[in-house]
Amino acid sequence: MIRRREARRGGLGALAAVLLVLPFVLPNTYYLNVAILAGLNAIACIGLNLLIGYAGQISLGHAAFFGIGAYVSAILTAGQGWPPVLALLAALVLNGALAFAVARPILRLRGHYLAMATLGLGIIVAIVLAQEVRLTGGPDGMPVPPLVLLGWSPPGEAAWYGIVAVLLWIAAWLSLNLARSPIGRALAALNASEIAAATAGVDVARHKSLVFVLSALYASLAGSLFAHYAGFITPAKAGFLQSVELVTMVVLGGMASTFGAVVGAAILTALPQIFATFHEYETIALGAILMGIMIFLPRGLVPSLARLAGRR
């Protein structure tokens, strides 16, 4: 236990170091922009990893929470003139309530049936966002006013990077804390055997709901921030492909690993940028890399590489 906490501190310290050094290494605002997007995805993925990695409950509709976060922020600030922070909180409340409401019936399902149910939920949300043109601007999207914090608005990429980096670090810290608390242990237990966890006194339904809501909140936060940062959002951000991408980030980085979620998000955000100049080979390369990593490192990048490093 003691050895483990030090490792966690070391990991958080290293994350802080990388986040601090990164802006000085990146040559221009475009790279900062990619780093910001990766950071926002990483926040959503840390939340999703709580659900998929720790609790073992798959969600193929998680982009819906990201999308709702983005749109609630957009609609309340652009349409209703709410202060962005208040809108962001409102999005959290709404997403939390929605996740709480659907969690119990849906999380009774297992495996592929759960995947289907979450996928359906995500698609329904995406359809509503695309169809309610008057509210959301429809498939072409809607503009979002800039973020304002106590009268201050982040003026550019550097300021945004700072905000995202701090929130990302906090998100990772919270996730690591939770993982080693009795709640985290209970999640891992119900992941391994629901009946054994229940027999040991774990309220399985409650814990699943809890982690589902929590992961929705992470996605909501990332979505709201994304909306303000990008200044423009479309329903595609809530869509099925986006959900699949989030899951892929978590799995690629390594399940049940908070740092894995961060790495997965960073890689899958950067890969399309790396391949953007290969044009018609871009999708081929992306598909091949996904397959290759999962075939040769089935536990995901970070756990597999850590294991290799540990063997030396």
Partner: protein, 291 residues
Amino acid sequence: MLETFLQFLFSGITAGAIYALVALGFTLIYNASHVINFAQGEFVMIGGMATVFLADAGWPIWAAAPLAVLLAVAVGVALERLAIAPAREASTVSLIVITIGASILLRGLAQLVWDRNFHTLAPFSGEEPIRVLGASILPQSLWVLGGSLLAVLALGWFFGRTLLGKAVIATAHNRLAAELMGIETRHVMTLCFALSALLGALGGVLITPITLTSYDAGVMLGLKGFSAAILGGMGSATGAVVGGLLLGVVEAMGAGFLSSAYKDAIAFVLILVVLVAVPRGLMGARGAERV
């Protein structure tokens, strides 16, 4: 009123038969390996696109279609041998990501080898719609329906009557015991991917005259096929067909009587309601599933 209802029904059955064909492919692979193959839609795409391009190159349809199906089967076998078999110990989610990667890869290859346009194929028996009580249905829809029916019967015969079919079920249920019976489980898996690709590609050939095809036609078909398979209950061939037809009919009725803008949402709400009521789909096995 009857005419309108019938027209909705025909529309639903046309779409439903297509979903059912794709769902059957999911079922087949799931039964052998408990893998959900998210590249299933790509088999349909390959079947359609390869036929189109062979036909454009001057091949007669009766030669182009089997060749296209053969190509899809080769892809299916390659997918199993190169990606699924080496990752046998991987978790369900990892396997999902592998098949998603495969579908991205295949789409990328398709747009490189072929193109990014949509393509059509001449219907097998003309375009003159068949009229029934004022409603109309295309002859090609009957081909699709017939194809689904034939596929179900063939699968029913294969799993119910042949020793090889039983060997597939045995492998899916208990790989170790199957191996100890002298069943070559590796070949069984490959066979199932081949059959599934065959089924998908056959579907692709049959539906292209109705739906057209393009390099990314597999995405939506795969999604709908997966939904149909889950709705019917994963692993049941009858369930796949019932799920497919039900999904198609609900979409058509939803579009016709409620709102065409929300018809997909209506269909997914139905799936959610069904799953909450019957957590393993309409005809799913009641046994325990390890995931």
